[in-house]
Structures are given as C-alpha cells and as structure tokens.
Symmetry: D3
Subunit: 244 residues, 6 copies
Amino acid sequence: MRIDGRQANELRNVQIETDYIKHPEGSVLITMGDTKVICSASVENKVPPFMRGEGKGWVTAEYAMLPRATERRNIRESSKGKVTGRTMEIQRLIGRALRAVIDLNKLGERTIWVDCDVIQADGGTRTASITGAFVAMSLACSKLLKEKVINEMPIQQYLAAISVGLSDNKEPLLDLQYVEDAAAAVDMNVVMTEANEFVELQGTGEEATFTPDQLNEMIQLAQKGVKELFDIQKDALGDDAALI
Amino acid sequence: MRIDGRQANELRNVQIETDYIKHPEGSVLITMGDTKVICSASVENKVPPFMRGEGKGWVTAEYAMLPRATERRNIRESSKGKVTGRTMEIQRLIGRALRAVIDLNKLGERTIWVDCDVIQADGGTRTASITGAFVAMSLACSKLLKEKVINEMPIQQYLAAISVGLSDNKEPLLDLQYVEDAAAAVDMNVVMTEANEFVELQGTGEEATFTPDQLNEMIQLAQKGVKELFDIQKDALGDDAALI
Amino acid sequence: MRIDGRQANELRNVQIETDYIKHPEGSVLITMGDTKVICSASVENKVPPFMRGEGKGWVTAEYAMLPRATERRNIRESSKGKVTGRTMEIQRLIGRALRAVIDLNKLGERTIWVDCDVIQADGGTRTASITGAFVAMSLACSKLLKEKVINEMPIQQYLAAISVGLSDNKEPLLDLQYVEDAAAAVDMNVVMTEANEFVELQGTGEEATFTPDQLNEMIQLAQKGVKELFDIQKDALGDDAALI
Amino acid sequence: MRIDGRQANELRNVQIETDYIKHPEGSVLITMGDTKVICSASVENKVPPFMRGEGKGWVTAEYAMLPRATERRNIRESSKGKVTGRTMEIQRLIGRALRAVIDLNKLGERTIWVDCDVIQADGGTRTASITGAFVAMSLACSKLLKEKVINEMPIQQYLAAISVGLSDNKEPLLDLQYVEDAAAAVDMNVVMTEANEFVELQGTGEEATFTPDQLNEMIQLAQKGVKELFDIQKDALGDDAALI
Amino acid sequence: MRIDGRQANELRNVQIETDYIKHPEGSVLITMGDTKVICSASVENKVPPFMRGEGKGWVTAEYAMLPRATERRNIRESSKGKVTGRTMEIQRLIGRALRAVIDLNKLGERTIWVDCDVIQADGGTRTASITGAFVAMSLACSKLLKEKVINEMPIQQYLAAISVGLSDNKEPLLDLQYVEDAAAAVDMNVVMTEANEFVELQGTGEEATFTPDQLNEMIQLAQKGVKELFDIQKDALGDDAALI
Amino acid sequence: MRIDGRQANELRNVQIETDYIKHPEGSVLITMGDTKVICSASVENKVPPFMRGEGKGWVTAEYAMLPRATERRNIRESSKGKVTGRTMEIQRLIGRALRAVIDLNKLGERTIWVDCDVIQADGGTRTASITGAFVAMSLACSKLLKEKVINEMPIQQYLAAISVGLSDNKEPLLDLQYVEDAAAAVDMNVVMTEANEFVELQGTGEEATFTPDQLNEMIQLAQKGVKELFDIQKDALGDDAALI
C-alpha cells in the first residue's frame, strides 16, 4: 500500500472547478490530491507573425508556479530575469499536446493563450496542467461557438495526461505524488486521446534504466488513469461536453 | 450612487480566508469585491548579506499578477525577462509598510518573504495585498512563537491599507473598483496603523491636481476604511489576534 | 539649528543655469546645495505606438546618477543590465508630474524626452530633478513656439517639487540634505503647482509612522518651499517666463 | 525506398573521429550522414555548490549549433541573450542520459562538462550528440584512469541514441534525416544501454497521434539501430573500449 | 629561434579548405598552426532597417569560440546571456575590414552574414578569421555572380590580416602563437590589401610601450606575412581567384 | 582652412578643471572644443577576485554618454539592458592605456575605478577621456600619497591621447571635431607617453585604406598634439604635477 493509502493503480482525488476566474474566455481550477493548478484560456484575435494570412489559428501555453507552491520557496522567474529549462520544457509540452486535438483551421486567425499557474504543488503538475488546460480551452471554444464567432467546434477529441512511474523497488505506480516522484527510479508522463492513442510519451530513468516489459506495464496503468480523467472532464464540462 | 450600488464611503465585500495554501508558514486568500490576492509568508533562516551578524531579521515582499487576472491578458514578466516599474514600485511599498509594524530584533536573523499573487484584479490590488500580507505575516510569526523558535511576538500593531480617490467630478470615493479607478482624477493609497498613524501616503493626480481640502476629505474616508479592515483582520486571525 | 546652519524652514542655495548643454531643445543645470542635476528636454517627432494617430503628444522622463555622484561609488545600471526599482519609481514620478501641467493636445504628435542626470548627490535629487526638468521642458516648448512648430504654449502652469521630513526627534524640516534624510523618521516629497494644488504627495515612514497633525506641518513647509522655487524658475526662464 | 536510397531500417553512414580537437580531455567529431557534431568532454576539479563535500562527481552537457549549420541561418543565442527552449530541452536530455551510465562516486569531486556543437545539421542532432558525447566522456575517463587520477573506470555500460519516426503514411523509419523528420507524423528519440534497457524515451505526435502497436514497431527499429551504434563506438574507442 | 622552430619572420603552416560546410553560400576551414576557424558567409535578401531603400548591400560579422577551443573551458556567451567586450571588439573589427574591400552598391540590397567560429585556438584567431572570412565572402559573391543574381563581382581587392608583436626582449615576431602572444610586450594586428595599404592597424602595449622605430619593424614583418597569405587565398579560391 | 578656422595641425581649445565633483578621490571636467567629459577616479580597498592576495592593485575604466550628449538622443544603455560594442571597446581601451603608466605594485591591493561620462559630445570623446582620466587618476594617487595610504607615487609617466585622421581628400588633420570625423576617410587614435612612446595605436579606414606614408604623417601630427596636452595636464595638476 502507498503512503496515502492508495492502490498502485489508483488516481488521487480529482476535481475540476470551471469558470474559476472571471476574465478569461475559459478557466478552471484543477485539483489532484494536493496539487492545484489554475488553467485559463485567453482568446486573442491574431496569430504569431510566422502564421499570418494562412487563415489558421494557434494555441500556445505558459506554465509557472507561485514561489511558495512548493515545500521550499523558489525564486520567481521574473526576478531571475529568465525562464528555467524545466519551465520551458513543460510549456512546450503543454502547447504541443493541446495542438494535437484542435483543428486550427476551424479556429480561424486567432490565438488561444493557455496559462497554467500552479498554486500548490504535490507532484504531477505538468500532467494536471494538460488535463485542466484541455477543459479551459474547450470552454473558450464553446464560448466562441455559442457567440457565433466560429462556426464549428475546433476541438476534435478528448485529451488527458497522467504520470506513471516505477518505485525504488521497480513497482509500477499511477499518479505519483511528490514524495513518490522524488524516490522513483523511472518517471513517465503519458498524454493520450480518448481513442486510446498517444500524443506524447516521455519516460526518464533518473540515474536508472527500464526494460521493455516495464514500459508496457507503465503504459497500461496510464491508459487506466486517463480513462477515468476523461469522465471527470466530461462532468466538469456539463452541457458543453456534448460539443466535442 | 456608485456603479455597484455602494455609498461613496462604503467598502466592497471583504473576506480573508486563512491557511489557503499548505506549504507557507502563513497564507491567506484576500477577496475585496472581485479583487483576489493570495498572500503567503515564507520564513527563511537567514538574512540578506548586508544585514548578517546583526541579530536582526528582515521582511521583503514580491508582487505579481497572473497573466489573465485582468480584462486583457498581460505578458508574463518572466517572459519579458524583467520586472516592470509598476511591479517594483508596488513590491517596495508592500515591504516598507510591513517593516513599519514589526520589531526586526524580535524576529532574529530570519527573513520573511511575503508573496502577493493577484489571481483576479478589479482595482485596489496593492492595498488588498498589504491588508492580506499583514495577516499572512502575523500567522507566520504566531507559528514561530508557538513553536518557540522566537520568544516574543514581533508584530507590534495592526496595519491595513485602502485606496481612496476623487471621481471625475471631484467626489471623494472609498475603495475604488477598476472602472472607478480608471476614471478617477486623483488616486491615493493610504497605509495606516491601528493607532491612526500613517505609514505611507501616496496621492497622484493623474493629469489632474487636488487641493489641500480635498486631501483632507480623502484622508478621512481612508481612516474610516482601515478601521473596518482591522476588524476583519482580527476575525480572520481568530485566537491569534490576541497575540498582537 | 541644522547641520549647515539653516533654519528648519529654509531652502538650500538654489541655482538654475539654462542652456547648459548645446544639443537638447532645452537644458539646465540645477544646483540645490551640493545636489547637482543636468536636466535636458529632447523633442522627437513621434509618439509611442499606443498613442499614434490621436494628434496628442507625450512626455516621458529618465533619471540616472553618475556612478560617483554619491559618497560611495554605485555600479552602473548599464553594467548590471537592469534599472533598479528606485530608479524606476523616480522616473515614473517625474514623468507623471510633468504631464500634469502640459496640454498634450497643444504639443501635437511629439514626444518630449526629459533626462535627469545627477552629477553630484546630496539629498533631494528627485525633487530637484522635477524642478529643473520643468524649466528644461518649458525652454523646449518655448523654442517650438518661437519656431512656429506649435501655435500655443502647451505648458499650463508652473510646477516645482521639494522634500520635507520629520527629523529623528519629530521636528519638521524643509529641503533635507543627505545626512538629514538618512536620519529622518519620515520622508515626504511634494509636487505642487503655482495654484497651490498637489500633483503628487508621497510620504513614507521609514520604519516609523506619522500623525495627521505632523502631515499638516510638513505640507505647510512644502508650500513655503515651492513658492520660493517658482520665483527661481521664473528668473531662470527670463523672457520665456511670460509665455506660461 | 527512402529519399537517399536507404531501407526503412537502415542507419546513415556513421563515423566517429576521436581526439578531434586538442585541448579537451576527450573529444570526437561524429558524422551521421550530413549531420556533424563536435563533442568534447572537459574535466574540472570541482562540483556545483549543491554537491560539494559529498565526494561524488557530476556530468553536465551543453548543446549549440553554429548559426549556419542549418539550411537558413539562425540568430546566435549569445546575440539573443538567451538560450531557447529547444536548446535547454536538448542539453538537459544529454546530461540526464550520460549520468545514467556513469558511477559518479568513482569520478570523485569532479565535473565533466560535455559540449556538443553542431557544425552541420541534417536531422538527428540530439541523438548524434548523445552517441558522440558518450565516446568523448569515455575518452576523458580513460585518460583520468591512465593518469591514475581515479582508480576505477566510472563508465558502467555503453550508451547510444537514435531517432525513429512514422512517416506521413505511417511507415516506421530509422534514423530520420531532416526532410524525413520535417514530414514525419511522429518523432521519437530513444536512448538505450547495451543491456537493451531504456534510459530515455520521448515520442511526440506532431499534430498527430500514434497507437500502442506503432509504438512497438518504432521501439524495435530503435533497438536495431543502437546495436549497430555500439559497435561503431567500440571501434572508435579502440583499446579503450575494453575499459568499460 | 622560436619555440616551434620558426624564424622570427616566418608564418605558421596555413591551410584554407573551401566548401567546408554545405549550407552556407561560402565557407572555409582556415588552419594556421593549431588555430582553426570555420568561416561561413550567408547571403540574406534584405538589409538592416537603417539602410533600406538605398539599393546598397551590407556585410556584418560574428565571432565566437567553442567553449573548449582554449586550454581552459570558457563559459558559453549564450549561458552568460551576453557577449563579452572582447568578442564585440573582434566582430566589429572583422566586419569593418571586410566592408573596406567590397563595393556594397554592386551587392544590391543584400546582407552577407559572416560567421567566424573558432574550433581550436592557439593565438591569432582574429587575424585568421579575417583571412578566412575574406575567402568565404568571395566564394559567396562568386556564387551570386555565377547564378546571375548580381552582374559584377563586388569584391574589389584581396584582404588578409596577420598578427605581429614584440617579444619580452623586444624582438619583432610574425604570427604569434598563444604562448608567444601571452608573453609579448606589444601585440599588433594588421589588416592590409594587396595594394600594400592598411585597412586596420591596432597596436597595444600590454603594460608596455613601443617606439616609432619598433612600430616600423613590426609593420614590415606584417607586410611580408600578408603577401604570403594572398597567395594561399588565391590557391584556395582556384578558378574563382580570377574574378577578383 | 578647417570648418572652425583651425590649421590642420592645431588642437581645439582645451581646458581641464580639477576637483569638479566632490565625492571622488580625483575628478576633472575636460573640455576640448565642444566635447566635455567628467572623469572621476574612485579608490576601492580591494581588487577583483582573480588578483587577490598578490599585493598588486588594479585600474579599470567605464565610459558612458548622457543620452542627449549627441545631436540626436541615444537610448540609455541601462534601458537597453546592455552595453553596446562601441562602449565596451572604448572602456577597454581607456583601462589598458591607464594601466600602462601606473605601477600596480605601488598601488597595493586597491582598485581605481575611472568613470568617464560624456556630458557633451563633438568628436574625440575617447581620447579626451584618456587625457582627462589620467589627471583624475593622478589626483587620486596624490591624495593617497599625501594621506600616507601609499608610500610612493605609482604614476610613472605622463599619458595623453589624441585623434588624427585623413580628410576626404586625404589631408592629415589633428583633433577632429564631429563633422570632420564623420567625413574622414581614416580615423586614428593615438595614446602616447611623455617619452614619445606608443601605448595604443588604432587606425581604421572607414570603407577606405591608407598608405604607409600617410600613416607616418598622421603619427607626426599626433606627436605634436600630445606634447601640447602634457603641458595642459601639468598646469591642471599644479603642485601635484611634480609628484609624477
């Protein structure tokens, strides 16, 4: 049994509260155990210079943590004057994942800025960000559709992400909280669609390695996890769930 | 009557929720109308280089807004690679204000980092930050006292802040929300102690001027406002209120 | 009696030398005791992007100190690669103050860049900068008017600034030099127009507080000080004084 | 058949020239088709601050491209004043991969800086960097061992990396050159040890997805590829190959 | 006799390998003793903003060293976030020198970006860069001419550069390698044309001085050196040599 | 005859006003025609990290221009967040030149920071800076000597600098003012000692070249110019002149 009493294949308690802040076109607070992320989707009526005139839209993501979201306070990236490599990796991942399930032609020449701000961190912040960001982006698109700014729903299918890993003694675990993550031999982030296809797969042996069999076990755990997350996303979207 | 039905001398609905996030030694979510700020106080067991060896502590503040806390999305300061002049002004103000009511000798060689992160903005974010930050800092000090890390409460008296202004037609108003602030001829931020003394007074005629009489009227409104805020701070602190 | 023999309500020796450097449209060297600031006003025939096409002008200010303007040498901000919070606060203050007394419509789509460079510092550099910058800006506007680039004088009234404070034993003092400023319990900068109205009022208790009565005393001292500065500005402007 | 006449499961021509530059403790020029990378390993007799006093070593990597390594000239990162997200991702990946096969205790309190500088790019620069960097790091360790600076070889097993992908029509391909990579639906980088275990696995559907079966096909191609690379590394290392 | 057996007036072994990398319009690897520099010339079909619409071209240069080109590893300028003063001086020198022998009108509204990347450093990197960059730029211009993008060869005459110096005991030396350079009392870089005219002359007494007679001696050595370099450049250019 | 009526071999009116600002250990305002530079020398009781414990001192220089020292306003380097290549070149030149005439052993473990701030620019700012900086540094050293902080005068001989050039029609000119400099075919800066030896020689053909004979003519003009400058420096130093 795990430190918080969960089974190896069990998600933490997940909640998605929609319309969490008032200004963005779509926003949620996603809670996975003690990890809490505010995801907002902001629509801007133009695209980056390299895409102008193509009639297509763009989706880009930014990720940050409040300085004391973590056990020890981190220096703000704005004070450091630069964004860390970890932050860049994560926001590039979130952006790529979201773009895999949206038809940018149907969005028109608009940019959706997705901001994922971690209020409290306890492991799995990048996967929670993707799962929450998908809902925020869907809410923003529903709004554009209802207001007839666009004619068709650009979101093509559900998208969710989860972390899996191998514990120190090589047991596969689903949805690692921080202490499990810190002790893990292998850490893997899996981003999937409802059609059981991969969008991103990132497995890292932290000064360790893993076999092809262990890879398979971890992937099966992840498939179970994202299936449950799709249901939670649909609940959160309510009537808008049917638009996708 | 004002746009939201308030009297000229009436505060917005104010709430202070303590222990809002789990890692910091003290934290609150302060809500004033639609303005929401997470204030956290983090204790570090060292002081900046210029103060080492003096046996005294230090309090410093940082302030930021989520990109979509506002009507239009702002570029993150970490992406710009620098902190704006407005942010610097505000965080210097918050730090100075908090240091005016704490006995740094009683704190010992420790730094309290106060982070004010605006989740949603609708005017008065810097004054809400000070009012909330005071409570977060007090909670952190109470914790140090209860855990016998320090022997005496370093907080010496209550501190709160409020904005006042002159409307376009020169009527004094208390606690301006964003649309009032944008239209105001004069904008003033007042930071006071419970002994009815000033800690900071910053009045700015935005392409306008104000007379000594108007200054007096605004100051009286501010005094009424902070008096109400002290009661709300005490309610939020509960049993810890008596320690100050 | 004060350290340099002045009365509590007495200004230091003030001199304003016009046309101090040859390239700018207006320039002065302002001397207040040992504080010396070169203020120059440069006219550029365009406005910032956010103002284009409105037919209005803009005034913006920058402030800096030579590295050895002070007792100890400061690192250049260009070497540090960023402007400090103190510098940003001051240059924002100077710009706001100047914009309060100029009719930007009469300026047309032009920007006046006001540069305040402190050659030697002995307290009161930001208020000396405003008092000197007003003269430099007026000279530049007179030049535009005489050369018929503009049709009406955009400067609407005189503007000057002075520092006041409370000494350690709470005595109000006018025009603090550096050693007085460093020891002061309260430091206040007051920017006023000739009509006895406030443009900016910034009072700071440096780890101290001040009462409403002390606020009034300081304001009366400031009113006396700026009145004397208006006369010195008019002398410096000579024939151009009548244009305002 | 592929654009350059290769089979789907065929590597490009690979060459590893050792001691390519004279100053570093280990260096190679690795050539994979038209991709050319200089990898150098520099030994420094200290470790980063967070590791001091533990008696362990550290390995860190940096990655860059000459401005005209690519079809179109890229702006230098030193001119931009910051490292891009792509560069950060790659250098973090190289460093993690190398640390997975070295016993940092046997290295002692030393840092190995691995620099991968792409002279000419034609796809697969990050995997070529890892394969080459492993050899450069091994040469540097052999040198330390022969000079009796260390007592045991810290390199524990062979490490190589290769890219695989799915073409536009979903055919699995080994070792993608640039035009194939640009057209690929899925791009995967696989880092493996000689024991057929994974160190890193990063699969990305570029606005596309992939099934569990396709994942398996790509992994089998990668296993074939790295097996061939291990032989080429051993040839390059010559007598030193036996030390690992 | 010198440390490597050369006479005082003898160049090191010089080789210029053309078309060293495939993407640039012109590229060389220049080797002078153990100093190796990749020089590439990239043509861009536009000019900097300050030159647009004049029908003239521009030539600009950038210079960098691989971190371990030198005896001790240098921190990358991209990691530092800024270019050092030494690098700026060198790249400004290279650009000025190249522009002295090209007719920018004949180039049309195009920019030639010349990149000099030092792979291995052993003294004289800036002069080797100029000598190599001239050949790379000439190759790029020949290509434009052969492809009829331009009608006339813009290169007007040959250009080469060499270092000379005074040893510790004031003996004039040609083409200093690193250990000679580090010990030299005076270091001079001379850039000349085939017509025996100077383009740049930079002599520096490193905590030493030099007389007018010593200046003359050094200049004569330099004239001998560049004469030999012109022959090597012509050999390298082959058939293209006749176009200049 | 030249634009301002001077002969080809005539300096502009030169004045050196000592003790121009009160805080630095040595300071001057040097005026050459319309070029005005404040040079200050600040003594710090430590040396840079790479020199500690050697018992030797260090001299370093910084150079800047007020934004409107020039015909058109320049953006402040602190606002740009970086120092330009031109500034770096100049401040490196000033520092090297000064170090050539000071015995750093006699200075002890102290740094002299020399700041050259151009108040008004009309050509020749770098050479005026060196000539003025020499006097400021000498004053600072005299002060250390008189206060018995050091035992011997570390300044070993006089140092001055002047610009020379070739006009458009190849006439050699001494001490170019801005309009002459902008039109010049060749621009040369010469730094010399009183013993008629060179410290630095930097000649640049701006899209032009120069012959060995023209070089000689320019050098003779420069020798005449610095001779006159040494007299002016001695007058300015007064009694302190005898200490060198």
